[in-house]
Amino acid sequence: MKLTTQLLAVSSISLRSLPSRVASSAVIVMGTAGVVFVLLSVLALSTGLADSLNETGSADRAIVLHQQAANEIGSSLPHDSVATILDAPGIAKDPAHRAIASTEAIASVNLPRKDNGKLSTLILRGVSTDELLRLRPELHLVQGRMFTAGLREIIVGKAASERYANLGLGGRPNFGGDQWTVVGIFDSGGGAHDSEVMGDIDTALAAYQRTTYNSVVLKLDGPTGFSTLRAALQHDPTLSVDVFKEIDYYARQSQTFASFLSLIAKAICTIMAIGAVFAALNTMYSAVSTRAVEIATLRAIGYGAVGVVVSVMIEALVLSILGAAVGAGLAWAVFDGHTVSSLAGGGGLAQVVFHLHIGAALFTLGIVWACVVGLIGGLLPAIRAARIPVAVALRAIA
């Protein structure tokens, strides 16, 4: 008999007999479901945050920071450096031949949250008013108007406006000892800026009695813009700055937090998976012993050991994949689309609001984990099944 026909026949027998072993089979399903549920729920946090930060960055923008500054908060650029940076080649120009760039300063501010009244941190970003919309075309106002330079006016990101008291249109929050007026609400497509508040750079610097900027964000002039700009900035002896493509910068920002979370998720889930493997072993051993006569009969009429091994493995796999589907479905039903916030923006100092998203990539990961559990849990029992002495097993009937 051909191996494939054997495999098909034996596997289909073992799968069709599953209903008679519902209770013990459910153990594998529940075990892997638990592992996958916890894994996906925690990973949804880290991928949700990474997605949000990655959306913030664009490949055609670059960000200039002080040398060796890990993030915007830790960077400080004096006024004359900024002027030199804006004169560098590789930056796209507007119709009036000015660099499309925003010199920015950020301050983290504490405001009471709407839901529990507790203070929570968000970022006030001073931006170059003239170039803001040309630099960040994804940003558009959904309510109100743009702030006016020189006045203490701000526009508020959609997510921030929903989360904090006093940040609705017309709200008058207090930053740095002054009252500011919310004149607009903006949407930048789900990135980290949606959790921020933006105002005119000079007004913001004055309010905080600061004289240095944190960063310069600029639009690159075509695909070669970045290398031109980087070469120019690095070879200027008066500057000590680093320049990153914005997309790389935000990817790096999300990494610390995301890798911490996924480390926790993987540590917990590895331990859970070990538990689930024991459960799977248990179930499959008992499945093999209930089916001992049936397996022996198959062997007696000429089926090979390989077929038996594979059929047991397939049964364990099917059950664990079923469990993965249950766990992933549960995680999706409970958490997908939820809005959460975590301390992750501006170098871990400000809250970023983001959505949990349990998508295809996470589903696949869940299935992979389940398969590993199923394979390990099925292997030893499968070998035992293949080794059952035919005569002994058949004699047990009598």
């Binding site: 916890v38 501010v109 024991f278």
Partner: protein, 386 residues
């Protein structure tokens, strides 16, 4: 007790199954112990933090510096007994991978405010005499093998006023706390640090404020914040507990996460143990019938099955928690936690008790149906194989 051999025999009947179930329970309780240990550990940090003093931070920006001039103004508020500033030097010791935070403060004021800080009087006096003196927590002393009298060189992140990055501190004493593991800070003299700094002079990232009546802490905190309400450097004052809670709260809902994981783990486990016991009872139908024939009552057969579940859950559960009690202190003894004043955690008694209760409930729930089946067993039907 005389049933013990019977329980033991039942468990040994299928050693693979018992062992595997046992391992699953061990892993589950290991996770339960570790996670709840962390949970309760954080709660304990919160509990041990005092409400007897206040912490003033910048409202504008957590961790942002406030002018030292705030100190005098806070001292003038009724109910305030002492104010200690925190001027921070961040540097590395020997290797870039050994980050170190030196807190420049008024150590006498710290002693007055923080009554749990234990220092011998002559070491406190030495701190007053030695400008570059530092008082180091016992845990940090042990970690780096320092002795009183040692001079520790430090490479600062930011340059000093004299252009160099090198700091020298003399260890004049050590402090300990009721929880010695948490004595991880390094205190220096504010004046010494302030003078040497190039930037950020006359600033403080927080003020420790002693108050004469803990019951009035909320009113005094409000009075401090009101004092600076119209200044560019607004303050946010809270007792230590609230302040830590706010910071932790921003990271995420820790309890929900941990409890969620524990429930998922235990629920899965419930299924497994139930299955093991049920299967074992099913297989032993004839044997149980024999016991009944020999004169065992329905009730004692039922208890026999329950005892089996209990033994399994209790023994494996105890093993799991014991494993966790070994791993947790190792897990929480990292240098990053130590820098925040958090030392190695041990599983508190409460978690042991909770684990025992969970094991009990687990055994009862998973054993009750098989036990009831064993009780209902009809001798004739069971023995004739019907």
């Amino acid at each position: 007790m005389k049933y013990l051999p019977l329980v033991w025999a039942a468990l040994r009947r299928k050693p693979t199954r018992t062992l595997l179930t046992c391992f699953s329970i061990v892993t589950a309780f290991f996770l339960f112990g570790t996670l709840q240990g962390i949970n309760v550990g954080i709660d304990n940090v919160l509990k041990l933090t005092s409400v007897s003093h206040l912490i003033v931070q910048s409202r504008v920006n957590q961790g942002a510096a406030m002018p030292l001039a705030h100190k005098v103004q806070i001292e003038s508020i009724p109910g305030v007994t002492a104010v200690a500033p925190f001027g921070i030097v961040i540097g590395t010791y020997q290797q870039p991978s050994n980050p170190m935070v030196i807190i420049g403060t008024d150590f006498d004021a710290m002693l007055k405010i923080s009554t749990d800080l234990m220092v011998t009087p002559d070491q406190a006096a030495a701190m007053r005499r030695t400008r570059n003196g530092v008082i180091v927590g016992v845990t940090t002393m042990k970690q780096y093998g320092w002795k009183v009298g040692d001079r520790i060189p430090l490479r600062g992140i930011a340059p000093k006023a004299d252009g160099s990055n090198d700091w020298q501190f003399d260890i004049v004493g050590t402090y300990t706390l009721q929880q010695p593991d948490w004595a991880t800070r390094i205190f220096a003299n504010y004046d010494f640090v302030n003078e040497a700094l190039a930037t950020g002079k006359n600033q403080s990232i927080l003020f420790y404020v002693g108050i004469n009546d803990p019951a009035k802490s909320a009113a005094i905190a409000q009075a401090i914040d009101d004092r600076f309400a119209n200044s560019p450097n607004q303050t946010n004052t809270a007792n230590e507990k609230d302040s830590i809670e706010t910071t932790l709260g921003q990271i995420g809902d820790r309890k929900l996460l941990i409890n969620g994981v524990c429930i998922a783990v235990l629920f899965t486990l419930l299924f497994l143990t139930f299955n093991t016991i049920a299967q074992s009872v099913r297989e032993r139908t004839a044997e149980l019938a024999v016991l009944k024939t020999l004169g065992f009552t329905d009730a004692s057969v039922q208890w026999l099955v329950l005892a089996e579940a209990l033994t399994l859950a209790m023994v494996a559960g105890a093993l799991g928690v014991a494993l966790a009690s070994r791993v947790l202190p190792w897990l929480t003894s990292g240098p990053t936690l130590a820098a925040q004043g958090i030392g190695a955690q041990h599983i508190p008694g409460l978690v042991y008790a909770a684990a025992a209760a969970v094991a009990l409930v687990l055994a009862l729930i998973s054993g009750v149906i098989p036990a009831w089946r064993a009780r209902q067993l009809n001798i004739v039907a069971a023995l004739s194989g019907r």
